[in-house]
């Protein structure tokens, strides 16, 4: 008979095996990070998760999130500019906000907006390579309370997988190449946004649907998300779910 603990353990093993499977040669980093934020929501009972990376100017940018809704992306960005995510990135340590109502002074603008969106607590975990912090994983919950030590450990392990994935993308983990890797990953995100626009217009989809269609097409055809996106922009590949207009 399975108890909750057993089920959870199986889910964890499944998630990490799935992530390990994506770390093959020439894998798709955007897809890896997307799976990772989705695993976070599933395994850690979060309502939303976002992964932010620092660009070469040191500003944090959303690279993957469980939602493509503009107002939630704005919330992630606000957290990165004036919230726990920034504090986590600067200190390299987890920042736990078990009750957003308890932080009227600190991050007040972020806390207010987060609560307006129905969130009650937020946790930010660092993406670390040795001494360098390259970004942060953010978890939003609709209930108050700090995550348990076990959950935080799982979250940090998922964040570590993200770091490894980003840095191993071209099998170059040397620190001098780090900014270059981050730059490529961030540019991939821009390509995907451009492709979402093309698809949204051609197939009359909203941005969320356009992203789902791109991703589904990439998965079904075993291709990288960024390659499918480039194909859509350059008109090289059949447009996924193209509706007659």
């Amino acid at each position: 008979m399975h108890d909750q603990g057993m089920i959870r353990q199986e889910q964890l093993v499944e998630a990490f095996v799935g992530l390990a499977d994506t770390l093959v040669a020439d894998f798709d980093v955007v897809e890896l990070l997307q799976r990772l934020v989705e695993d976070c929501v599933r395994l850690l009972d979060a309502a939303a998760a976002g992964l932010l990376l620092a660009d070469q100017r040191g500003s944090l940018q959303v690279l993957a999130s469980t939602t493509e809704q503009a107002r939630l992306l704005e919330l992630f960005q606000l957290e990165a500019d004036k919230g726990p995510c920034l504090a986590c990135f600067r200190t390299g340590a987890p920042v736990l906000v078990p009750d957003l109502a308890d932080h009227p002074g600190r991050w007040s603008q972020f806390a207010t907006k987060a609560r307006q969106e129905g969130f009650a607590s937020v946790h930010a975990l660092p993406l670390r390579l040795r001494t360098q912090v390259i970004g942060a994983l953010n978890l939003f919950h609709t209930h108050t309370g700090a995550m348990t030590a076990d959950d935080l450990a799982v979250g940090q392990a998922l964040a570590d997988v993200a770091t490894i994935g980003i840095l191993q993308q071209r099998a170059v983990a040397r620190s001098h190449a780090l900014s270059g890797q981050l730059q490529s990953a961030l540019n991939s995100r821009v390509i995907i946004e451009q492709a979402k626009g093309v698809l949204a217009e051609r197939a009359n989809l909203d941005m969320d649907e356009a992203f789902t269609a791109l991703r589904g097409f990439a998965r079904n055809h075993n291709r990288k998300l960024v390659d499918v996106a480039l194909g859509v922009i350059e008109g090289r590949s059949p447009t996924p779910d193209r509706a007659p207009s």
């Binding site: 503009a70 001098h176 390509i191 626009g197 996106a229």
Partner: protein, 257 residues
Amino acid sequence: VNGTGRDGFPAPPRPAMSSPERISAVLGAAMGHDGPDAAWAARLCQVCVDFLPVQGAAIALMSKAHHLQTVGASKDAILGIEQIQVTLGEGPGVEAFDSRGPVLVPDLGATAGSRWPMFAAALTGSAIGAMFAFPLELGAIRLGVLDLYRHQPEALSGPELATALRVSQAVTTSLLEQGDDARFDEVHGSWLDGSASSREVNQATGMVLAQLDISIEEAYVRLRAYAFSHNRLVADVAADVVARRLRFHPHAEKDAG
């Protein structure tokens, strides 16, 4: 750190390595408002040589036929090498352009022979030990490549690489702004960031591409041109496009909402 450079060459004064503001100011002045001609490229390449431990820099831009063409360099010898690379169609810069990511070759002698045999042969006797190539791109929009040349086979440090990336992004921004009167500082701060509004600009660019059936580069230019001719922020116009309050129509001089 001033004084004698680590690579034995006299180190140029680099007081602003840690000051993005100063680099932006110097770049802004170097870019001016003229087009991407040889003098423009030479000025930008000189900024690279002044701010980074490299002895040469060159810029190549994509032609209409989607081929790289050398525009300018910090000095004639570098211009020559860059032209060889572009003509041969192989080398770190060509690879950076094709792969859409930086190509960093801290020890050219050790790797170039097998990766780019013709280019490596052409480099013999040129005293180039390292090359760092940065694509000039915004998402799928590809404009060209910035190549940095170093005498000594030595990697760029993290902060140096960050500066190089900042310069390549600034050059990209400048190229995308050609013909606008927008001030460099204004655009530098807001165009390539990851804010929700720039996400919408990227999405709107894709939508305009589909509405007009044009290239992504042209779509970006059209979106910006519309904003400027209507005295509006591009972010606001992009929001209207994404919300489908504004469409671009082929064959229409004035786009109607």
